[in-house]
Amino acid sequence: MAGFSSFSIFFQVFINGIFLGCMYGVAAIGLSLIFGSMQIIFIAQGAVMILAAYCIYWMVTLTSIDPFFGFFVILPIFLVFGWAIYKGLFQRVAKAGKNPSLLLAFGLMVLFEHLMSLIWTPNTRSVTTSYSTSAFGLWNINISITRLIVSIVALIATGFVFLFLKKTMLGKAVRGVSEDMRTAALLGISPSWISSVTFAIGIALAGVAGVATCITYAFDPYFGFLFSLKALIAVAFGGLGSVAGALLGGITLGVLESLSSYIISAGWADAVAYAAFLLILVLRPEGLLGRRSAERT
């Protein structure tokens, strides 16, 4: 293990990377779902995450409810929120094509960012609890309890989305639309209904990722864009439109960042991530897990 003083340090860095990657993964699944049904990159995903983080911040500071309870609060609210965004804004714009939708997503991102900085000031915030710093040791490795729980929640959320897509009729319809919208419409599936469902789920996942972020990291209103970019890279790692791929892509990215910031330096971690991203795009554009499709436009 070149660059590592011992195997346990390597493992420690690795585990931290996995925890970080789980959060990228959840955000990436949302992004991937929205991309699947609407063919747009929903760049405001990170801003929505941070919005959820601030909601939890408010909840914790005003009512001192445990932040983990936030998962149950945020999930239904953001499901409705995502559905409303689609019905109110995107359904209308999606007819005009991809560029206006992308523009709309960008406008929403800036709007959210600055509304948040107006309401909650641009200062960096974090949600702390009595057990924030507690950790347990496992073969010389420190495992933070909050990060562990957050990662497990992220995995559970992914599992539910996976089951939803594989086992329910609605999930089958979602997959059908993302594979071939025209054929799906011919078979009686309404693309706009499916898009609203996937949008709601995508936004709810962003909410879950936001709650996870606020419990484990400090955040500010403009933090979201970076997260959108990371989620985007994770999606590209896994292949656009694949759920398991997005989660694995997120974890790969988290580990890659964590390792490179330990071996080289923290400043280069982003460059390594982007370079890997470019390499994967050029060498394996369908992603690490994706199937090669006939047409990629």
């Binding site: 991309f35 063919q39 990159i41 804004l89 209308r92 714009v93 007819k95 005009a96 094509g97 560029n99 206006p100 939708s101 523009l103 709309l104 960008f106 406008g107 929403l108 991102m109 800036v110 709007l111 960012e113 600055h114 509304l115 107006l118 864009f225 970019l229 985007l232 890279i233 590209a236 656009l240 400043g267 280069w268 982003d270 460059a271 982007y274 370079a275 991203f277 470019l278 795009l281 050029v282 554009p285 990629r296 436009t297």
Partner: protein, 331 residues
């Protein structure tokens, strides 16, 4: 607006009037203190940036999200060559090198990206390029000045009107080359690639060559704007040079006006720049919120861009005025 007036001559006349206005404007006011001169200066740069993107994305259909990379290269080439003493203040050589440097990177990165990636994958790839270059510039040590950037001798500053005219010149060159390109075989090839790349290739168009040509020329003009920006600020730093605003705002302008049209991005640049400036003056705290809300509203109600709306409106009006029916004839 050539379509608005539906004849080449009217379009030329309109462009000429605009050009004369912009040429004499700095002499009508005090160029050093006039807010409008500053406003036009920034808007010219945005027009050139928006058209640089429009050539790649609007005409050739290759949505690039990496224009800020070329802008940043322009900034850094100008700053580094000036610091090394090879070039000076407002050196045409430095500006040319900035543009060529950006174009060179566009060709080198465009060869693998444009050959292998289509659609969103290309957009993601170019976004990655910009971010990699930002980190490289940040970590470049003494060569790029690292996080503290490169300070340039600001005592060289002479007059705001110099900036105004150079920005105008860059914009005119950009517009002229875009006009000529889009009205030649190159423009036809680019539009054919945008509409259906496979069909274009089947019809004997060397798609890679044309895509790279559009990408490199767009990068060249973006690099020129970056060079001018370095001269204007006398300071180059990663956060400013590789700022995502240099890609996002021009894209907004181009889409607002109508991507793939000649006049659309110009119109979009002027409108959006004016909205941003007015919002900044009237309500400085709420400015970004207002601007973002404006973008959301525009996409909701004018998703195809202003040009398609204007064109459609013109047809409706002209159909009622039968004596002017000749204006509907295609040029």
């Amino acid at each position: 607006m050539t379509r608005l007036f539906a004849s080449w001559k009217m379009g030329y006349l309109f462009a000429l009037i605009l050009l004369i206005f912009f040429l004499i404007y700095p002499f009508l006011v005090n160029a050093e203190t006039s807010y409008m001169v500053y406003f036009f200066y920034t808007t010219f740069i945005y027009v050139a940036l928006a058209q640089g993107w429009n050539l790649v994305a609007g005409y050739a259909g290759q949505v690039s999200l990496g224009q800020h990379a070329f802008f940043g290269i322009g900034c850094y080439v100008t700053a580094i060559t000036w610091r090394a003493g090879w070039t000076g203040y407002f050196d045409p050589l430095a500006m040319l090198m900035s543009g060529m440097g950006a174009a060179l990177v566009a060709i080198v990165i465009g060869l693998p990206l444009l050959a292998k990636l289509r659609g969103d994958y290309f957009a993601l790839g170019t976004l990655g390029l910009g971010e990699i270059l930002r980190v490289i510039a940040l970590r470049g040590g003494r060569f790029t000045g690292g996080a503290s950037g490169i300070g340039l001798p600001s005592s060289a500053y002479q007059s705001m009107s110099h900036y105004y005219f150079i920005a105008l010149l860059i914009t005119i060159i950009t517009l002229a080359s875009l006009w000529l390109m889009t009205r030649s075989n190159i423009g036809l090839a680019l539009v054919a690639i945008r509409e259906d790349e496979t069909a274009a290739a089947a019809n004997g168009i060397n798609t890679l060559k044309y895509k790279i040509l559009a990408f490199a020329i767009g990068a060249f003009f973006t690099g020129l704007c970056g060079s001018l920006n370095a001269y204007y600020l006398f300071y180059v730093q990663t956060g400013g040079a590789f700022n995502l605003n240099w890609v996002i705002i021009p894209i907004l302008m181009a889409i607002l006006g109508g991507a793939g049209t000649f006049w659309g991005p110009i119109l979009g640049a002027f409108i959006l720049a004016a909205v941003f400036e007015l919002a900044n003056i009237w309500m400085p705290e709420l400015h970004p919120i207002f601007s973002a809300a404006f973008i959301v509203l525009v996409t909701l109600f004018l998703p195809d861009g202003l040009m398609s709306y204007i064109t459609g409106y013109r047809h409706r009006i002209l159909r009622k005025l039968s004596p002017f029916k000749w204006m509907l004839q295609k040029t």
